[in-house]
């Protein structure tokens, strides 16, 4: 098991290097450091010395090759440097934002997955009946609504009109549940349609397999067939598809956090976009990739746990 995990991690290294390379090409080749400095100095009339000072502070004064070396090595050891806009160490904000972001994202992920699987099982149980048709149609309807409309509409409805939770704010610890309630509900609802529909097809695929017929011939009831035999097999494609949900989760965090004033990485990134803070965007792109790769490794492990055919050696 350990060796399997280690090998998976080893595979990730060249990809990480590739991402570091990509971010370097994107960010260093595009904007002139001079104009970055000008934009970010709060003085009204920065002198050349001030600009030089800023360039020095942010490491833009070195030759491109050195910058590249610093960039890649810095990323590999999580040294992200300072924000272009505020001069604050990026790692500080990442540390602060990771908690709230992680909370919202993981809750949305887990609740969403549970809900989608439950609904998919329900719809699959009623396959061929109008419950199935109606449910599938509902899923297509739900997945045709753009995420932003969910957030705007439901925040307005649940937060402002019905007052089910705070519209903005955040507290750490137990008190956080109150603040994440609405974002999580919205996040889950927004993803429900497409996930349910996808999982339904996975389940229906499995339902037509021979082993299901065997189970039925043994006298296993319909519910047990679905929940035990079919679901466990359908989990394999479901797990594969959850990796694809990571980018959606990140997007969800971006929007939800900003709308509900949750001080996470999402709102940090949006600020960075608005102030063209390349250093922060760079760090976040890299961090997002790491998350994705970690997700990939976790998926592989989960995969190995569910599917006995995957060999761990």
């Amino acid at each position: 098991m350990l060796r399997y995990v280690l090998r998976r991690i080893l595979y990730a290294v060249p990809i990480l290097v590739g991402v570091a390379l990509l971010t370097f090409v994107l960010f260093y080749a595009s904007a002139s450091p001079q104009s970055l400095a000008r934009r970010n100095l709060s003085t009204r009339n920065p002198t050349q010395e001030q600009i030089q000072q800023w360039l020095k502070d942010h490491g833009y004064d070195k030759p491109l090759s050195v910058q590249f070396k610093n960039h890649v090595t810095g990323l590999l050891v999580f040294r992200f440097g300072k924000s272009d806009a505020t001069g604050e160490p990026i790692w500080n904000r990442i540390k602060q934002g990771a908690g709230p972001s992680g909370l919202v994202a993981s809750l949305v992920f887990l609740t969403g997955l549970t809900a989608a699987i439950s609904f998919a099982v329900a719809v699959a149980y009623f396959r061929g009946t109008y419950v199935d048709y109606f449910g599938t149609f509902l899923c297509v309807l739900l997945m045709s609504i753009v995420f932003i409309v969910y957030v705007i509409g439901l925040q307005y409805l649940l937060g402002k009109i019905l007052k089910y939770g705070p519209i903005a704010g955040f507290q750490t610890g137990i008190a956080a549940w109150k603040f994440v309630l609405l974002p999580v509900v919205i996040g889950v609802l927004a993803g429900l349609g497409s996930e349910t529909r996808l999982f339904r097809t996975f389940l229906l695929d499995e339902i037509n397999q021979d082993y299901v017929r065997t189970a039925r011939a043994k006298g296993v009831g319909e519910r047990a067939v679905l929940l035990r035999h079919v679901l466990k097999n359908a989990l394999i494609p479901i797990i594969t598809s959850t990796v694809a949900a990571i980018p959606a989760l990140i997007l969800g965090s971006l929007v939800l956090e900003n709308f509900f004033g949750i001080p996470g990485l999402g709102s940090y990134l949006i600020d960075a976009i608005n102030s063209q803070d390349f250093a922060v965007v760079r760090a976040m792109v890299y961090l997002g990739s790491i998350l994705y790769i970690v997700g990939l490794i976790l998926t592989d492990i989960a995969y190995a746990l569910v599917d006995p055919r995957v060999r761990l050696e």
Binding site: S35, R38, R39, N40, L41, S42, T43, R44, N45, P46, T47, E49, Q50, Q53, A85, T86, G87, E88, P89, R93, Q96, G97, F126, T129, Y130, V131, G159, K160, I161, L162, K163, Y164, G165, P166, I167, A168, G169, F170, Q171, A175, K178, F179, L181, E222, N258, F259, G261, I262, P263, G264, S267, Y268, D271, N274, S275, Q276
Partner: protein
């Protein structure tokens, strides 16, 4: 078994709902003596040498007091009163010979601060107890402004006036932080009195008093700056004001609590006529600050702040396009709904101006020839300020006739700018345009339509409205306007580099002196200084220098009028409007009187905690009816599903009503299945 788990789920759900409330603050906090304010974003810095925006100053000025402060209640004129200062500074002529051997007639200010002032308690001081404040701490803050590494925005205010400033500032490059040990020639300690320091100027500069009322000149503990480094700016401010920072959570909140080491300060005992009736002297003579705690909520979206205000979770709010109709009924009065909720409306004249600035270096719209002037005059005549006021200031505010706003010396309400007389037919404007060489908006020589580029940072819907308005108004002249929208920082960059034809801009007073406005057109202040249009008229510049040294009075007014006449004729700007500030607060917030310049007014505010708590409860009862309705619908919707399950369980393959007729079945085989 199934039912049990179902009931358990319901119970958990119900409990969750019951525990639901939308109070965004830690339990119990909003029932204590705390003020709730809002910031539109994280401060970029709370370093008193750097902070410049109003939002940041709201916090900074509570932590860092200055030599002077503005009287809370008095207006017209604004009154500067001593805060940390022990007595009015002594102002004497100071004549010296500079290094070129020229005799310079300057000025010397002697400042004396109160004794017994202390910084807030902080581990950086011996024993963690706040150290006594001396003149050196003031001098240190001057040195910080001079330090190019600090990036102080007011450095330019001093560098050409304070003796030896430029040379001192240049040394930082070589010596780095150690240079703070060297003395700044123009700002000197009194060797005999640790509470006195002098500022030497190479020219008369009456505005220095105002600068001494800004947080830039607050005493700063050098040990704290050196210990906390970058942390000093945000996470770890160390000041001496009425409040100190107890908590800072980026993107969430800044919490200030009363500083036990603050110097005794009391609520003013006198104000303007009407203040007593308005209840503003209720707390007269009480020690400040009145609220023990101030919470700044950081809400990026204006909408969020407004929603929180409506729920009673913010004590005050601004009025903008989003909430105008809900708040204001007619003639600037509050709507019944707002009155019922106990909301109070405050309208305040602001010392500010919004304008369109032409790039005076631009080959098309810039320049000082009569034709170019006429082109700008024509455009100026085409712009209807009232439309701007209606659209962006809810119809409240004054049309601007010249650069000086109401409330500042030199503002003359009866003055009418000949090029700001809007006439819907644009007869005069069109005539001027023709004289400028563009009859009906087309170039006389080439016959091509004149195309102007309007640079802006309009990436929001409101910005789109602005662009639409400007375009619509100018295009009535027959000229075509093309909008160039970029993000605000790129836009700023373009402005600083002078890569634009015209822009819309605004200026808010730093201090209530006309110099703070007319310097926006002073040639040497050109980009990237405050003079964005790059206007440079020698005559105007000469008058400006003269005006700066004068005290308010008829002579100064005469000079200001001359300057106005020049600028009005040249039209580097189209003056649009002076904004008025509309703000709302609940009646549980007491002693509310806004101050256009001062940013430390929070310390005078008090709150009726009980009333607030009561209202918050009353307004925030969740409405569970729809939830119950949805649950009901789900149950109803589930009935058919349940019946499907039932049918499945009890289904028989044979239809009960299908009699078995074997023979019939056998002969049935014909035909039907064919083809």
């Amino acid at each position: 078994m199934r039912n049990v788990s179902f009931i358990a789920t319901l119970a958990v759900f119900a409990l969750t709902l019951a525990g639901c409330n939308n109070n965004p603050y830690p339990a119990g906090e909003s029932t204590s003596n705390v003020l709730y304010r809002t910031l539109s974003d994280d401060p970029k810095s709370l370093d008193p040498s750097v902070t410049y925006t109003v939002d940041e100053a709201q916090v900074t000025d509570l932590i860092y007091p200055s030599y002077f402060q503005y009287h809370y209640l008095k207006r017209d004129p604004f009154v500067l009163q001593l805060n940390l200062g022990a007595k009015e500074p002594v102002r004497e002529p100071y004549v010296f010979t500079d290094k070129h051997g020229k005799t310079v007639k300057g000025e010397r200010y002697t400042f004396t601060i109160k004794q017994g002032l202390r910084f807030q308690d902080d581990p950086v001081f011996p024993g963690g107890k706040g150290r006594a404040i001396t003149a050196n701490d003031f001098i240190y803050s001057f040195k910080r402004i001079a330090d190019p590494g600090v990036h102080s925005p007011v450095a330019s205010f001093f560098e050409d006036k304070v003796v030896g400033w430029k040379e001192y500032a240049a040394e930082f490059e070589k010596k780095g932080k150690a240079h703070y040990d060297a003395s700044l020639p123009g700002v000197q300690a009194d060797p005999r009195d640790p509470y006195t320091f002098r500022v030497l100027l190479n020219q008369p500069y009456p505005q220095l008093r105002f600068l001494m009322a800004m947080h830039f000149t607050t005493p700063i503990p050098r040990e704290a700056v050196e210990k906390y480094g970058e942390q000093f700016a945000l996470q770890h401010p160390v000041g001496s004001g009425p409040y100190l920072m107890s908590e800072y959570r980026p993107k969430q909140r800044i919490v200030l609590i009363a500083n036990p080491n603050r110097h005794p300060e009391f609520y003013p005992t006198e104000g303007q006529p009407g203040d007593r009736e308005a209840g503003l002297l209720r707390d007269a003579g009480k020690q400040l600050p009145l609220a023990q705690k101030v919470v700044f909520n950081i809400n990026k979206e204006a909408v969020t702040s407004w929603n929180l205000f409506q729920q009673g979770y913010l004590d005050a709010a601004g009025v903008g396009n989003t909430n105008y109709q809900q708040v204001i009924a007619k003639a600037g009065m509050l709507t019944e709904e707002m009155k019922r909720k106990g909301v109070q409306l405050k309208r305040d004249v602001q010392a500010n101006i919004y304008y369109i600035a032409f790039n005076m270096k631009d080959p098309v719209v810039g320049g000082y020839t009569p034709e170019k002037r006429k082109l700008r005059q024509a455009i100026s005549l085409a712009i209807d300020s009232q439309a701007f006021i209606d659209l962006f200031s809810q119809g409240i505010g004054r049309q601007a006739e010249s650069i000086i706003p109401p409330g500042v010396f030199g503002y003359e309400p009866e003055y009418k700018n000949p090029y700001r007389r809007y006439d819907p037919d644009l007869t005069r404007a069109k005539q001027l345009l023709a004289e400028a060489g563009y009859p009906n908006g087309a170039d006389k020589k080439t016959g091509q339509r004149l195309i102007l580029n309007f640079d802006n940072s309009a990436t929001t819907p409101a910005g789109r409205q602005l662009v639409g308005l400007v375009t619509k108004q100018i295009e009535r002249l027959g000229v075509k306007v093309e909008s160039r929208s970029t993000r605000s920082n790129v836009f700023q960059d373009k402005v600083n580099k002078g890569q634009f034809q015209f822009i819309r801009y605004g200026w808010f007073a730093d201090y209530p002196d006309p110099e703070n406005f007319v310097f926006l057109l002073y040639g040497p202040n050109k980009r990237p200084g405050p003079n964005a249009s790059g206007y440079d008229n020698p005559e105007y510049n000469k008058l400006f220098v003269k005006m700066r040294a004068l005290e308010d009075g008829p002579e100064r007014l005469a000079v200001l009028r001359q300057m106005r006449a020049i600028a009005v004729e040249d039209v580097p700007w189209v003056y649009i409007n002076h904004d008025e500030d509309l703000s709302l607060h609940y009646d549980w917030l007491l002693n509310v009187k806004s101050h256009p310049i001062a940013n430390d007014t929070t310390k005078y505010r008090a709150v009726d905690v009980e009333k607030r708590a009561q209202m918050q409860r009353a307004w925030n009862r969740p409405n569970y009816l729809p939830l119950i309705a949805i649950a009901g619908l789900l149950v109803v919707g589930a009935i058919p599903a349940v019946s499907v399950v039932r049918q499945r369980q009890n289904r028989r393959v044979r239809r009960a009503d299908a009699p078995e007729a074997a023979a019939a079945a056998d002969s049935n085989n014909n035909g039907k299945a064919s083809h």
